[in-house]
Subunit: 507 residues, 2 copies
Amino acid sequence: MEMEQAVKDKWEAFQELLSKISSYNEAIGLLHWDLQTGAPRKGIEVRSGTIGVLTGELFRLETSEEMGEFTAFFGTPEVASQLSEVQNKIIKDCRKEYERSKSIPSKKFEEYAALAAHSQSIWEEAKANDDFASFEPFLSKIVAFKQEFIDYWGVKDTRYDTLLDMYEPDLTVAKVDELFDRLRSRLVPLVEAISASPNKPDTEFLSQIYAKEQQEKFGLFVLEQMGYDFDAGRLDESVHPFATGLNPGDVRITTNYLLDNVTSAIFSSLHEGGHALYEQNISKELVGTPLSGGTSMGIHESQSRLWENMIGRSRAFWQRYYGDLQQHFPEQLTEVEVEQFYRAINSVANSFIRIEADELTYNLHIIIRYEIEKLIFNEGLEVKELPKTWNAKYQEYLGITPPSDALGVLQDVHWSGGDFGYFASYSLGNMYAAQILNTLRKELPEFDSLIAEGNLIPVKEWLTDKIYRFGKSLTPAQIIEQVTGEPLNPDYLADYLEAKYTELYKL
Amino acid sequence: MEMEQAVKDKWEAFQELLSKISSYNEAIGLLHWDLQTGAPRKGIEVRSGTIGVLTGELFRLETSEEMGEFTAFFGTPEVASQLSEVQNKIIKDCRKEYERSKSIPSKKFEEYAALAAHSQSIWEEAKANDDFASFEPFLSKIVAFKQEFIDYWGVKDTRYDTLLDMYEPDLTVAKVDELFDRLRSRLVPLVEAISASPNKPDTEFLSQIYAKEQQEKFGLFVLEQMGYDFDAGRLDESVHPFATGLNPGDVRITTNYLLDNVTSAIFSSLHEGGHALYEQNISKELVGTPLSGGTSMGIHESQSRLWENMIGRSRAFWQRYYGDLQQHFPEQLTEVEVEQFYRAINSVANSFIRIEADELTYNLHIIIRYEIEKLIFNEGLEVKELPKTWNAKYQEYLGITPPSDALGVLQDVHWSGGDFGYFASYSLGNMYAAQILNTLRKELPEFDSLIAEGNLIPVKEWLTDKIYRFGKSLTPAQIIEQVTGEPLNPDYLADYLEAKYTELYKL
C-alpha cells in the first residue's frame, strides 16, 4: 500500500526521534567502553554521574509523550497497513520499550543507572581483594531496585520471568526449565563418562609463559582472518572482555591477556569477534533505528560461541592455524603436535571459573547461575547468603567448592551492573549455535575444508546473509525458524557435544 | 547573610540543571577525544551526528526557559545578597552565556554551525592544494555570519571587542593595542639583534632519527616529574596534540611523535601537561558547576607556556634532565653537551609557521593575526584581500614573505571554524606567564635550584594555591592582580625574553 503524504511526514519526524535515541545510545556506549578500557580512576565517580544523566535522558526520550503518540498513531491498523514490515517491527519494539519503561519514575531510574555504573568499579576492587563484604551493600541495592522494577514492569508467570524476557523476548522460566532439564539429562552422563575415561589430554604446556605482545599479534591475525573489519572497530584490553557496537561502523572488542595461559586471549578474541561480526554486518538501512543491533542476547551469544567453540575449537581450524601459533611461540610449542594441542584446548574439567570452562561443563556453570537468580527473585534469597549458596551449588553440580569468593560468587561482572536474567542466554546461545551449525553444514557442504584452508569468509558471508544483516528486524524465534526450519531444540547441542567428545575421549 | 530555605531549595534545583550541563560537556568531550585518538574510520559519519545531537541538547539547556528563570531569580539584589561569591559568579557566567546564546535565532545558529563544520573540511583541502580561492567564499560567509552575530550580541567599544570578550572576558581592542604596541616596540629590536648575531646555535643534531618508544618513555617521565597525576588522566597520541578536562579526575592529554624531531613531543607534552595541571587541580567543590574549568584562554595558555617555555626551555631544567634524555638516546646525544642542547632548543629564527615558531618570534605571528582580524571586523577588510595583507605583514614584522598561501594565510585552522578573537590569547598567555613567573621567583627564591634538582612539585603546588584551584571563580583580571599585585604588564615578558636571549646570543 502506498504511504500517504501525512504519514510520510510523520514518519520523518519519528525518525528524527529515533536518531536522537541512537545518538544517546552511542554516547552512553562510549562512556562505558572508556570506563572499562582505561578511564583514570579518579574520574570514575563523576563519570558515573554523567552516565546516569545521559541514561536518564535516553530513558525520558524512550518514554516521552512524543514516543507514546507516535507509536499509538503508527500502531492503528489503518496506518500500520501503510508501513513496511521493518517499520512495523520498529513500532512494536518501541511500544514495548515505551510501556515497560514508562512504568518506572525517571528519577528512580536515573538513581539506579548511577548506582549500577558505580557498583561495577566497586565489584572490580572487591574481586581483586577477594572481599565480598565490600560489594554486598551495593549488590543488595541493585537487587532491591530490580525487585521494585519487576513490580513496575508487571510480574509474568513468575517474578523472574519478567527479567528473562528483557534479554530473550518471550522467554519464560517454564521454557528454560524444560530446555535445561533436557540438556542436563544428556550432558551429565557425558561428563561422567569423560571423568571416568583414562584418555586425559596433557594440558600443561598451555600454561607456560606466553609473551603478551605475541599473544596480541596472533589475536589480531585471527580476527583479521575471520573478517573482523578493523576500519570499523578496534581491539583494546579490559579486565572482562566484551564487544560493544557503538554504530555498525564502530564495533569494538576487548580482551585480557594472561601470561600463563595462551588460550584465554585467543578464544576470547574469537568469542568477542563473533559478537562483533554480527554487529558490523547489520544492514546499513537499519542505522539510526532501534533495530540496528543483535536480535537477542541468545542469538548474539550463538554467534560468539559458534566462532569461539564450533569453529575455533575444531580440528579443522587448528589444522590451518596451528603452524602460525607455533611460529608466534616457537620455544613453547615446537615440540607440541597439532593433535595434542587440539585435545588440550578441548580438555573437559570441572573448574571454578565460568569464562575459562570448557564448552561442555560451561552449561552447568550457567544452570547454577540461573537457579540462583531464580532463588533471589522468586524465593527472596538474600544477597548476603549468595557466597554460601554459590559454593553449595558448585559442590552439587560440579563436585568442587571454590576456595575463595574471587573464584566463586565474585567472578562475574553481570550482577554488579544489574544484569539479572542474562546468564541463561549463554546456554541458549550454545543451543542456537549447534542448531545453526547443523544447517550451515548442509548448505555449505565443504564447510570443514573451508575452515581447514583458512577460508573463513564464506562462513561469515553465509551468517551475514542468514542472520547478521537482519539485526532486530526479525525475532529470535523467526531467525531460528527461518534458518533451520524448526524452533529451538536442545538436542542439536547435545548431539554435537556427544559426537565431539566421544571421539575425543575415545568413550 | 543566612540563606532562606526557599532560596536553598531553588539553588538545589538549579544545581541539578548545572550538573546536567556538566554531564553533557563531559560526554561531548569524550566523543571528541575518542575521534582524535583512535575511533575507527567507518564510524566517523554517524559519530558526527551523535556529537551534533548532544551539542544541540547542551545548547538547549544553556538557553532554556529554566535557565532564564533561575538566573533572573538569583540575580535580583535581594537574593544575590544571600549567595556566596562563588554562587554569584556562577549566576553571572550563566546569565552572560544565556543572553549571548539566546540573542541569536536558533535557525540562524544552526545554519552557521553547519557552515563552520563544512568550512573546516574545505579549509583542509585548500591548505593541501595551496588554493586560497576555493576557501575564500566559505570564509567570506563565516565572516558575514560573525558580523551579524556581533550585531545580535551587541557592539562594544568596537565591533572586534565583542569577539575578544568571548575568549578573554572584558578584554578590549584598546587594551590589546596598548599591550601589543609595548611588546612589539621591545621585541622587534631584540629580534633584529639576534638576526645580526654571529652566535648561531647548531640545531642539526635535533633532527636525527629518535625512536618513538623512547620518546614516549621520556615524555611519560617528564609528565610524572611535573606532577601530572596519571590516576586522573592519561597520555594518548593524536595528529594535533591537545588537553581535555572531562572532569578534574579525568584530564587527558595527547601528543604526536615525530621520528626526526626529538623536541616536538617533549615540548608538546610539557605544554599540554601545563594545561592539564591547571584542570586537574581545580577545587573539587566546583565540580558540576560551570566554574570547573580554566578562567580564560589567556590564563590557560599562560600555564601551558610557563611549563613548556619558562621551565621546559630553561637551563636549570636541562641541567637536571639532560642526562636522562641522553640515556634514552645514547647514540644520538652522547656527543652533545647540555649547553649545546640548551642553545639548540632556544634557537630563534624568522619563520613562516606559527606553531613551529620559537618563543620570541611567536608573539609577532600573533600580533599579525590580531591586526588582520581587527582590519576585518573594524575596517571591513575583504576576505579576498587577506593573502596580500598577510604577506605584507610578514614582510613588515619578520622580514620574510611566505612563498605560498599554504605557508601563509592558510596555515591555521581557527578562521575556518569561526574562531576570530582567539589568537590574541596566545600572546596574552606569554605575558601572564612571565608576570606570574616574576612573582613566583620572589615567593619561591630557591626556584632555579628546585628546577635544577628536579623538584618541580613545589612549583606545581604554588601554582595550584595561587591559580589552579580557583577555576573560573575568579576572572583573569582578578587572578593576575591577586597573584602579582598589578594588572597585566607586558614588560615582564619583554624583560624575560631580553635577559634570556641577550645571554644566549651574547648580544
